[in-house]
């Protein structure tokens, strides 16, 4: 019964989205106030019903109702509760339902927080949001119904892929989707503005918090996935340039560009058409990402079971949304009058360079991701584009980006003084260069690129700190007062940039100075790695809720003293039958010691295949991202972004 109610609620939500998508929009175009007033209630109603649908599916998973196909295929009674809940979105149908839920959540949030928006824009934004929702409801109901029943039903489910049975991955999809789908709001604002034919500073101020919110979630979501890959897959790597990773990275790059170009629209009333275009592209990449993951056109380690019918539906939807919005853009972009001018050396042109580099980088990633498809279609060759492509092509574009990132915040709007910036930051640059070379030498040298990344990370860190110190006049009287009075948006910016600097140092450390050993180890064998002495003590058999495991015990010594005991596991799950490795990691500020235990090498089970990695500065990468996201949320709390906050007169 609950399952059928969920199905029914989903159909109601679908109908409401149709109403919300058409009537208020028609009302706004023809000036009928009564139709326009339908907007908010339908947005709330849609969210209400899709929540019921989602709750019903989650309930089916919690009580293990195997008469539902989706539950039977993806759950099991022996699974811990957390993973029964997360199994709701750990499959195709459920994850699309989560998409729709979050889309409706954002719709309701815009309806609530946007009440002070100009009425016609408000209605248009909500209608566009509803039409996107309609596409997803139809997709669910026509091709991927999560509420389908099964008869006769099995007594036991076939279980969730054990690799997904992990706290990191339980929360990865919701966070990622909050990011992906958050970009739909920006998209709706952009299309709404195109229909209105008006983009101004106020528009940019409304759009920025939504972009920022989506960006924070997307950043956190991508990183959580990367962190999961790092400790769960046990390869010691954290980014593989896999199509599915790229699919989430492309919208991130464009959203980052958008975040910066919206500042230019707000402050200088220019770059409008470009910003609108970025908003469209960012959401298009979100859809493309969903398409790549869900249609299985690209070979990926993440690929789930696929179905051509779904692929065709998503492709058609993609075509409609992207094609339609770009067409509208082509027709209306000339209506968006450009405002202020800007000089080649100014904050705004630095932001333009940021935008160019980020969008070109997104294009490069897209090219590398889709090139195998293109090549297959043209010549029939089956190829893959490997990480070296991305590391080289993408990496090189990041060098000028990081350089400009250090300069940008110190440049003033309109016309900056290049000589002044150079004379102030020249010292910072020289210092970070010397520091990078010193560290490089201390770490025993290595590839020259390692020094370059180290230098860029230090430069960005120092330049960001310098700019902040300069802004608050750190060494003059009453500095504390000025530090506290800084606008939240600029504090957020400093944290965001600082976070990236920290993350860059982490990437450089773990990529260039990481070491790896693979050994057959007998009990009491000792290995030295990364300055630690690792002693293999013994192994034990473990029985978990739905798996059995071998757990190794390794004593980690530094200078003769035990600092930790690491216990990596090799698990064998029962349903579905599948082995996984649980790496054990000893993290310090200086680096991660990472141990994976494999299989026994002999019949007496006292020799085991063991892999050990030492990843210097690995924690900096994760920590840097935390700082970035923290910066994003600080910036989000800026009172300027509060809808209905007293409007400042623009220029």
């Amino acid at each position: 019964m609950i399952v059928e109610s969920g199905h029914y609620a989903l159909i109601l939500a679908c109908t409401l989205s149709l109403v919300q998508g058409i009537f208020p929009l028609y009302g706004a175009l023809t000036g009928r106030g009564r139709l326009m007033r339908l907007s908010a209630p339908t947005a709330y109603g849609q969210f209400f019903f899709v929540s019921i649908a989602f709750g019903a599916l989650m309930h089916a998973f919690i009580v293990s109702d195997f008469s539902v196909v989706n539950v039977a295929k993806n759950s099991h009674t022996l699974k811990p509760m957390l993973y029964k809940v997360s199994a709701t979105w750990g499959n195709h149908e459920g994850s699309i339902l989560l998409w729709a839920l979050i889309l409706a959540l954002y719709g309701a949030a815009v309806a609530f927080f946007g009440r002070k928006l100009p009425k016609t824009l408000y209605v248009k934004v909500l209608s566009i949001q509803a039409l996107i929702g309609l596409g997803f409801y139809l997709f669910l109901l026509l091709t991927s119904n999560p509420f389908e029943r099964l008869y006769p039903f099995p007594m036991e489910g076939s279980g969730l892929n054990p690799l997904l049975q992990d706290p990191g991955l339980a929360f990865h999809p919701p966070l990622l989707y909050l990011g992906y789908v958050g970009l739909s709001v920006t998209f709706s604002f952009a299309v709404g503005a195109l229909i209105e034919g008006r983009v101004d500073a106020a528009w940019a101020r409304w759009v920025r918090p939504w972009t920022l919110l989506a960006w924070c979630f997307l950043t956190a979501g991508i990183t959580l996935g990367s962190w999961w890959a790092y400790y769960e897959l046990g390869w010691g790597g954290w980014w593989f340039w896999d199509p599915v990773e790229n699919a989430s990275f492309m919208p991130w790059l464009v959203a980052t560009a958008l975040l910066h170009s919206a500042i230019v629209v707000e402050k200088r009333d220019t770059l409008k058409a470009w910003t609108i275009l970025l908003a469209i592209i960012a959401f298009s990449f979100s859809l493309l990402g969903t398409f790549i993951v869900r249609s299985g056109v690209l070979t990926s380690v993440h690929a789930f079971a696929t179905d051509p019918e779904r692929g065709v539906f998503i492709l058609a939807f993609l075509f409609l949304v992207i094609g339609g919005s770009l067409l509208l853009f082509a027709l209306r972009a000339d209506k968006l009058q450009a405002g202020g001018l800007f000089a080649p050396i100014s904050r705004e042109s630095m932001l333009v360079i940021n935008n160019l580099l980020l969008s070109v980088a997104a294009m490069v990633v897209m090219f590398g991701t889709l090139y195998p498809l293109l090549r297959d279609a043209l010549t029939g060759d089956k190829i893959t584009v490997g990480p070296p492509f991305f590391n080289l092509a993408f990496g090189f574009l990041m060098i000028p980006l990081l350089l400009v990132m250090g300069l940008g915040p110190s440049a003033s709007w309109k016309r900056a003084d290049l000589a002044g910036i150079v004379s102030r930051l020249g010292f910072v640059f020289a210092t970070s260069l010397v520091a990078a070379l010193a560290f490089f030498y201390m770490l025993g040298g290595g590839e020259i690129m390692a020094a370059v990344w180290l230098g860029l990370g230090l430069w960005l860190m120092a330049a960001t700190f310098y700019e902040w110190a300069d802004r608050v006049k750190l060494f003059k009287v009453n500095a504390m007062k000025r530090i506290r009075r800084q606008p939240r948006a600029s504090v957020g910016m400093s944290f965001g940039h600082l976070g990236l600097a920290i993350a860059v140092l982490g990437m450089a450390g773990s990529s260039y100075w990481g070491t790896e050993q693979q050994k057959i180890m007998a009990y009491e064998d000792e290995i030295n790695i990364g300055g630690y002495d690792v002693n293999f003590r013994d192994t034990n058999g473990i029985i978990g809720p739905n798996y059995t495991a071998v757990r190794g015990a390794f004593d980690i010594r530094k200078n003769g003293k035990i600092v930790a005991t690491l216990e990596p596991e090799a698990r064998l799950f029962s349903t579905p039958p599948m082995p996984t490795t649980e790496a054990a990691i000893y993290s310090t500020l200086m680096g991660d010691l990472f141990i994976v235990i494999g299989e026994a090498n002999n019949k007496t089970y006292d020799q085991w295949a063991v892999r050990l990695y030492y990843k210097p500065l690995q924690t900096w990468l994760w920590g840097g991202v935390v700082v970035m996201v923290f910066g994003g949320f600080i910036s989000l709390s800026d009172r300027r972004f509060r809808m209905g906050a007293a409007k400042k007169k623009i220029n």
Partner: protein, 158 residues
């Protein structure tokens, strides 16, 4: 002219165009350079036998791991196994750690360099996340060679 607003706008556009073009050209250059060394062609054992690729070319080789062909060397870290597409079989040697889901009789993709004079030395054996999951290229290759067995969905093997 340069002092008028329109003139300024033109100068601004010119700078913007110049910067965009430079960055785009840089990107295209990078893409073309980077692409040369990082593409690997996918082959199945029959393709490999027919191909006239020269030694050292990076490729991915995919097929089924032949039953009872898998064994481990003395050092415990070097593995030998055969990969087949039903028509041709290739001997593979791999030193490193095997993914959790590596099994005889299952589909696998290995990456390495062409070695026309002996076994295929794999530098990487690609991991899959799912016990039912068969690399797409392997399915296509098996279909082409006429040895693909359609499963009824629930069985562990293809």
């Amino acid at each position: 002219m340069a002092n008028t607003r329109a003139g300024k706008r033109k100068t601004k556009r010119f700078y913007l165009l110049l910067t965009s073009m430079t960055i785009l050209l840089l990107a295209v250059g990078l893409v073309l350079t980077a692409l040369q060394d990082s593409i690997s062609l996918f082959l199945d054992p029959s393709d490999l036998a027919e191909s006239n690729l020269s030694d050292g070319q990076r490729v991915r080789l995919g097929g089924l791991v032949v039953e009872e062909s898998f064994f481990k060397d003395e050092d415990g870290l070097t593995y030998r196994f055969d990969i087949t597409d039903g028509n041709e079989t290739v001997k593979v040697i791999y030193k490193g750690s095997l993914p959790d889901l590596f099994r005889e009789g299952q589909g696998v993709v290995v990456e390495g360099e062409i070695n026309n004079s002996g076994p295929f030395f794999a530098t990487e054996v690609l991991a899959k996340h799912d016990e039912n999951y068969m690399p797409k290229e392997v399915i296509e290759s098996l279909k082409k060679r006429g040895v693909f067995q359609y499963s009824d969905g629930e069985e562990e093997n293809i």
